[in-house]
Symmetry: C2
Subunit: 337 residues, 2 copies
């Protein structure tokens, strides 16, 4: 154990000077401060009060893993989690995986190193088998993203139903040529939406045409690109299902640039009910996701698990999604076929 | 020091079973796993490999403090930081202060606890005097937010010039009744923009009228509210300077609802050059902030400081801002008075 005496010795200063520096008292010259910091660093010295806390079992810290914070869905998710965690006396660390398996494992080490008491996975890049190796070190909870085989609490949304109601709405408006547009990374969220999409098509005797599929769109810029590709098709789709309001906003922006009327010539439906869907012209029809409820429940379940120490334990929570009809999909009177 | 023997004893299982659980080998019953986890937790046992890392001097982790990730400016900032940190082999932890002094101090403890090697402050809620008490524990760098008295590297943007060029543009279009609209929390960024705003007014023989001031607007919803207040004025402003594209988008959305023409009856300028400024109708004139450059520089300076151990050290970096003229401020031909 490195002590304050070791630091004083290496710095060539008195113990009281070192103490003054550590406690940030005035009247210590910058040169002396520098020597103390260097000695502390060289020895890996941790002042006593910190070392005490370091030995405490609980950190009162939890972490959440998300793919990217630039996606406003996750911005909103971590804000709701932050509020709920603070309310319960926990500090929230936020980690981005940037869709990288390696980065995700790096963040999971926080649990192993006992730097956090538990972790919420709103991203899953590695196989569950790999991630589950961290279970001995503390509780894990999945939020939004999911993996059915995981023996942990999962708080998710009914994405199959979300994909289904959005697609059903487009079909009811008379569309038969539907494009499908989603973020490309492997994700159960995306897979379930696609199941809902295809289920609705099937009910109308249709099957999905691969040429109408766009599988790596998750920003406004990508939406503009998708529109350009659609615009060049000989037999273009008349409606687009998108996985996010941002992509939908991009498609609408592209359509405006090329003088294509939305929804007259092309209907576009978003996903998330982000603010952007309300301020675009035309306003974007979308699927409302109860992000706040999901975030609160995830924090509550994680904190309960930390306190009860009853893990791993299989639990499932699912919140419903709701269709919000605005202007981007309705050219004539609403039809309920 | 708690050992694996202690865990085995408390769990009432053999040492080899405990080891199998820790290393996540197959063929251990859920009931036994549970007992081992509970014993590990009760004793605060950290497996050896982790404990070893825990004693290592460097964590290869850095943290960034931001006010709120819902603000797309900070979403973009942390994304650019993430990319630069990864490139340099560092892991980035992201912490929101939610404009709370207490939460900010909680996050600064990460440095004291040696959980991170250094920290970037893109938020400053407490007085610098208070924050500087954490300097003995590791390097701090300020990014975007700033405090001139701080004896640390500061990487910022020339906000006085940003406020000045945006205001000058509005004045050149003939406006004399200018509203000023900004986020309300105390921040040097906001204060400097206001200095630039008033400097431009002064050059045209004008002084700021307090009734045209809105000091707690930082979202689309707030922008809509600001518009409603402006709309009710007897002698309303003809142009609005805003601190963010989101607020500008909100004002434009409000104006549309009430049938007020932008820019014909009301000019609105944003700040940030976020994607939203390009997809609104009318497109939003704004001030481009070189977020990516600022983020990269901040990470580089912090990592250099961590490696050189040469801190605290006063350094200043400043990047210029650029006016981007689009549709929301130009009703007639551009005037360069």
């Amino acid at each position: 154990m490195v002590t304050i005496d070791d630091v004083a010795r290496l710095a060539g200063l008195s113990k009281s000077t070192v103490s003054r520096v550590i406690n940030n008292y005035p009247h210590v010259s910058p040169a002396k401060k520098q020597k103390v910091y260097q000695a502390m660093d060289a020895l890996g010295y941790v002042p006593n009060s910190s070392a005490r806390s370091l030995r405490n079992k609980k950190t009162q810290m939890i972490a959440v893993l998300v793919p990217r914070l630039m996606n406003p869905f996750f911005g909103q998710l971590v804000e709701s989690m932050e509020i709920e965690a603070t309310k319960n006396g926990f500090q929230l660390l936020i980690c981005q995986t940037m869709y990288s398996k390696e980065t995700e494992l790096g963040h999971l080490e926080l649990l192993k190193m006992k730097q956090v008491d538990g972790m919420i996975l709103a991203s899953l890049e590695n196989e569950w088998e790999t991630v589950s190796e961290y279970l001995p070190y503390g509780p894990l909870v999945m939020c939004n993203e999911f993996e059915d085989s995981a023996n942990i609490p999962i708080i998710k949304l009914d994405q199959i139903h979300g994909g289904y109601i959005a697609t059903k709405h487009l079909l009811r408006q008379g569309h038969r040529k539907l494009a499908y547009c989603t973020g490309g990374h492997k994700s159960m969220v995306g897979q379930h939406r696609k199941i809902g999409f295809e289920k609705a098509l099937k009910e109308h005797g249709l099957t999905f045409e691969n040429r109408y599929g766009f599988f790596s769109a998750y920003s406004i810029e990508h939406g503009i690109e998708v529109f350009k590709q659609i615009h060049q098709m000989k037999d273009p789709p008349t409606a687009v299902f998108t996985g996010s309001d941002e992509v939908a906003a991009g498609i609408i922006t592209g359509a405006k640039e090329y003088g294509v009327d939305v929804p007259g010539e092309l209907s576009v439906i978003g996903f998330d009910n982000q603010v952007i869907s309300k301020i675009m012209d035309p306003k974007i029809s979308t699927v409302e996701q109860p992000i706040e409820l999901m975030a609160q429940q995830s924090i509550q379940v994680l904190i309960e698990t930390i306190k009860s120490k009853d893990f791993p334990k299989r639990e499932r929570y699912e919140f419903p999604l709701e269709l919000i009809i605005r202007e981007s999909t309705v050219s004539g009177p609403l039809r309920a076929v």
